[in-house]
């Protein structure tokens, strides 16, 4: 067999490591970099709370648990709905996709509303204590991600309404769902660290 010469490619040649497309890799790496931002913030919180030799043990204010627990349930529920919507696209069930995304967005907005209520009724501020600084920074950045995720899903919803996606062309929907799951997962960590422990 000759060592030189090859087929004339009509397009760029692509390989799909682990069966994942180029777009998937790009998006997953983007989510990884976001996850690393949260990881660093969480590490800073853990350091300040338990490891720092300089400060006193972190003073914890009274932490209300009822509303955050409901909020957690809402957000996790929205993740399940988003998953259900996404699997609808696999069967080209675009109504299920749109309905599911509407429900996800509404649940996400409910979560943000609960968060807003919590912010305005908190007994501490970012300036009053180091816990407050950590709390508002972490939950604030997370809330921003929920908002961005909701806009992401909204854009997908509008395009799906116009008939944009199919089981053949599902990547943007998968990306949106992946992002939503990522935001959910971050919340589980934050809820555990900021409220429960």
């Amino acid at each position: 067999m000759s060592a030189s010469g090859a087929a004339v490619p009509a397009t760029q040649h692509r390989v799909a490591p682990f069966g994942k497309s180029l777009d998937w890799w790009g998006f997953a790496l983007f989510v990884l970099s976001e996850a690393w931002i949260f990881l660093n913030l969480v590490a800073a919180y853990i350091y300040l709370r338990w490891l720092s030799p300089a400060s006193q043990p972190m003073a914890l204010p009274h932490r209300e648990l009822l509303l955050p627990s409901i909020n957690t349930a809402i957000l996790l529920g929205s993740g399940v709905v988003a998953h259900w919507a996404n699997t609808g696209l696999d069967r080209d069930d675009r109504r299920r996709l749109c309905g599911g995304f509407i429900a996800t967005i509404v649940l996400g907005l409910l979560f943000l509303a609960g968060q807003g209520w919590e912010y305005t009724h908190a007994s501490f501020t970012p300036q009053s204590s180091i816990y407050g600084a950590c709390f508002f920074t972490l939950t604030g950045l997370h809330g921003l991600h929920v908002a961005v995720g909701a806009v992401f899903l909204l854009v997908l919803l509008l395009r799906a309404w116009g008939g944009a996606f199919s089981s053949e062309h599902a990547f943007p929907v998968q990306a949106g769902t992946l992002y939503w799951h990522f935001v959910d997962a971050v919340w589980v960590v934050l809820f555990t660290l900021l409220y429960l422990i």
């Binding site: 067999m1 000759s2 060592a3 030189s4 010469g5 090859a6 087929a7 004339v8 490619p9 009509a10 397009t11 760029q12 040649h13 692509r14 390989v15 799909a16 490591p17 069966g19 994942k20 497309s21 180029l22 777009d23 890799w25 790009g26 790496l29 983007f30 990884l32 970099s33 690393w36 931002i37 990881l39 660093n40 913030l41 800073a44 350091y47 300040l48 720092s52 030799p53 300089a54 400060s55 006193q56 972190m58 003073a59 970012p126 300036q127 204590s129 180091i130 816990y131 600084a133 920074t137 053949e168 062309h169």
Partner: protein, 705 residues
């Protein structure tokens, strides 16, 4: 040739300037990266010279303490964030797609975005001089010096916001590199056959992706401390100034390897080609790079030995820091073993590569010294550390960048750099560099602290400091010689041809400079040296087992009389019918980058500008996403290959007219000489199946895909 090829991408109606501004071609973006970063290198070098002039004699008054603080901070910030990191990204941008046989980066628009964000981030940082408030707390900006109490002006805000912008650029770039290397390798180009430069770029991209967030978070918390009144870095408020050091160095130490690993990659390309031997221990060089990348996340606190860490932490970080010397030394031994019994061609590139090995060993050894905790207590924040760092960054990375420039300049421009002036450059650089930095070890041990703007005449540091300043001036003259060489060679340098060095990797299998589409046919890849295989079908690597298992001179043609015979004609895979899959022309990423910079200026100047910037940013983002070119459905459902790759036919947005391309490579409307590259062996028709589902495997092939 260079000029015509460059002009081909632009349509006749478009100015050459706009053709560069709107380009998404990885080669043009690479050139933009290289030129921009070299400009920043010159600025950072001038700052270094200013510092050396200030320190030339005792009690000098050239620079006041405030000016000196700003100059050394901007020197460090510039050289690390605006020169060394992005210049290596520039090399990667130009070379990685060529080396893996791809047409472009995975996300060409994101690539363009990375470049413009870098440029605006650099301009933003330097705008601080116009505001009279350049950052002045050192390139690692330790808290609490940086909180509002001690730094009330905007100096630190410029630094914080500028670095956030540069972080966006780096993270976007590393996502692009990783996806490109994962998904766009030519058929047969398994990980075990990738050029070492691609390997090291891959590891570097992983490091960048996972290290930059630490800096972004550290800087964001500092911004909150300064402007929202939080107390993350204030012990009085329950925070901890050491948190800054932990966050910063958990970025900062991987950063050191972000700056050196691609340099290792460059050396691993240059040394074998100019020793006429395959790289000794390909897999060891690759895996030791991975090991360095992994270990680099476990050593950050060795920058903090003097702050009073717990004993267990000191032991751990000292041990892990010394451990890194092992994979690094493996690489050095591999390069030396590659040269051993080789037929060494002492070009300027090879001179720099050998100089890299020697100087980097010195930097590595002083690195092991400062990993020893008691010694570090003695040497920390003294000129010893300055010497160590510059032996690694200049004696290491910078010399590799020079080596890479001499090596790839012919590919990028079509002309060689002059070897005569190159030799002058080599001599001035080595002499000037060692005269500048070798005495700094001594100065540090004599007790001179870094970052002092002057010293008294009776401290005994005069002569050494003066000698160092002389060395720095010589170094500067060397850079001038290099610049003269570049401009002379661009005009009248020796024509390079496709493959001036008789090299083995795929970037040499296309024209110099390469056409916009890089390759028309997939170059066949059966080993780590695909071009060797193509030139020597009687003795290909894949029949001999893994590269590096061979010792001695592989072929006799170049040893007679020391006069190298002309390289055998290599095949070119860039000729044939061009397809309409060409780099796109767009301005959306540029608009997004500019609006992000405007947001940051607005943060410092007026909230209205910030809001306006945000609005434009959203507009630009939407424009970017919605103007995505139509994607053709993949040939088979669920088959990733080919999905979305076929670009639309040239439209108003794809500024290429086939007739103009034809002028540069002799295809298209120009008289077609042959539909097949003349140098290539005739291929049986059954090999012409487009989009073959599996890469063809050579006999005796092994190694995972």
């Amino acid at each position: 040739m260079a000029a015509t090829a460059i002009a081909t991408v632009a349509p006749a109606t478009q100015s050459r300037f706009l053709a560069w501004v709107g380009t998404t071609d990885h080669k043009r973006i690479g050139i933009l990266y290289l030129c921009t970063t070299f400009a920043f290198f010159l600025i950072g070098g001038i700052e270094a010279l200013l510092m050396r002039l200030q320190l030339a004699v005792a009690d000098n008054t050239l620079l006041g303490p405030d000016a000196y603080n700003q100059i050394f901070t901007m020197h460090g910030t510039t050289m690390i964030f605006l020169f060394m990191m992005p210049v290596l990204v520039g090399f990667g941008n130009y070379l990685v797609p060529l080396m893996i046989g791809a047409r472009d980066m995975a996300f060409p628009r994101l690539n363009m975005f990375s470049y413009w964000v870098l440029l605006f981030g650099g301009l933003f940082l330097y705008a601080s001089f116009l505001a009279g408030a350049a950052p002045d707390t050192g390139w690692f900006s330790y808290a609490p010096l940086t909180v509002t109490t001690f730094s009330p002006n905007h100096n630190i805000d410029f630094w914080i916001l500028g670095l956030e912008l540069l972080g966006v650029s780096s993270i976007a770039g590393s996502i692009n590199f990783l996806t490109t290397i994962l998904c766009l390798r030519a058929p047969g180009m398994s990980f075990g056959r990738m050029p070492l430069f691609v390997w090291m770029t891959f590891v570097t991209a992983v490091l960048t992706l996972l290290a930059m967030p630490s800096l972004s978070v550290a800087a964001a918390l500092l911004f909150l401390d300064r402007h929202l009144g939080t107390g993350f870095y204030s012990a009085a408020a329950g925070g901890d100034p050491l948190l800054w050091q932990h966050l910063f160095w958990s970025f900062g130490h991987p950063e050191v390897y972000i700056l050196i690993l691609p340099a290792f990659g460059i050396i691993s390309e240059v040394v074998p080609v100019f020793s006429r031997k395959p790289l000794f221990g390909y897999y060891m060089v690759a895996y030791s790079g991975v090991a360095i990348g992994f270990l680099s996340f476990t050593v950050w606190a060795h920058h903090m030995f003097a702050v009073g860490l717990p004993l267990a932490a000191q032991v751990f970080f000292a041990a892990s820091s010394m451990t890194i010397a092992v994979p690094t030394a493996i690489k050095i031994f591999n390069w030396i073993a590659t040269m051993w019994h080789g037929t060494i061609r002492l070009t300027a590139a090879m001179h720099f590569a050998i100089g890299f090995i020697g100087n980097f060993i010195i930097g590595g050894l002083s690195g092991v010294m400062v990993a020893v905790v008691p010694f570090d207590w003695q040497a920390t924040d003294s000129y010893f550390v300055v010497a160590h760092m510059h032996y690694v960054m200049f004696g290491g990375s910078m010399l590799a960048v020079f080596a890479g420039t001499y090596y790839w300049f012919p590919k990028i421009t079509g002309r060689r750099l002059g070897e005569g002036l190159g030799l002058v450059h080599v001599v001035l650089t080595f002499f000037g560099f060692n005269l500048t930095f070798l005495p700094m070890h001594l100065l540090g041990l004599m007790g001179m602290p870094r970052r002092v703007y002057t010293y008294a005449p009776d401290q005994g540091w005069d002569i050494i400091n003066f000698a160092e300043t002389v060395g720095a001036v010589i170094l500067g003259i060397g850079v001038l010689v290099f610049l003269i060489n570049v401009f002379r060679s661009l005009r009248g340098g020796q024509r390079a041809g496709n493959d001036p060095w008789d090299a083995w990797t795929l970037e040499w299998a296309t024209t110099s400079p390469p056409p916009p589409w890089n390759f028309i046919t997939h170059p066949p890849v059966h080993s780590a040296r695909p071009l060797w295989d193509a030139k020597h079908p009687e003795d290909p690597d894949w029949k001999r087992g893994r590269s590096g298992s061979r010792v001695g001179v592989p072929h006799g043609s170049e040893v007679d009389g020391g006069q190298p015979s002309p390289p055998p004609p290599g095949p070119s895979y860039s000729e044939g019918e061009p397809t309409p899959e060409l780099p796109e022309h767009t301005y959306w990423p540029l608009l997004l980058a500019a609006s992000l910079a405007a947001v940051l200026v607005g943060v410092l100047v007026h909230v209205a500008l910030m809001v306006a910037g945000l609005v434009v940013a959203v507009y630009a983002l939407l424009g970017w996403l919605l103007s995505e070119r139509p994607r053709t459905p993949s040939p088979g459902a669920g088959d990733e290959r080919g999905a979305g790759t076929a670009r639309a036919l040239p439209t108003a947005r794809t500024p290429v007219s086939p007739s103009r391309e034809g002028e540069s490579v002799g295809v298209g409307h120009a008289p077609v000489r042959s539909s097949r590259p003349s140098g290539s062996v005739a291929v049986p028709p059954n090999l012409h199946t487009p989009l073959s589902p599996r890469p063809r495997e050579g006999p005796g092939e092994r190694g995972p895909r």
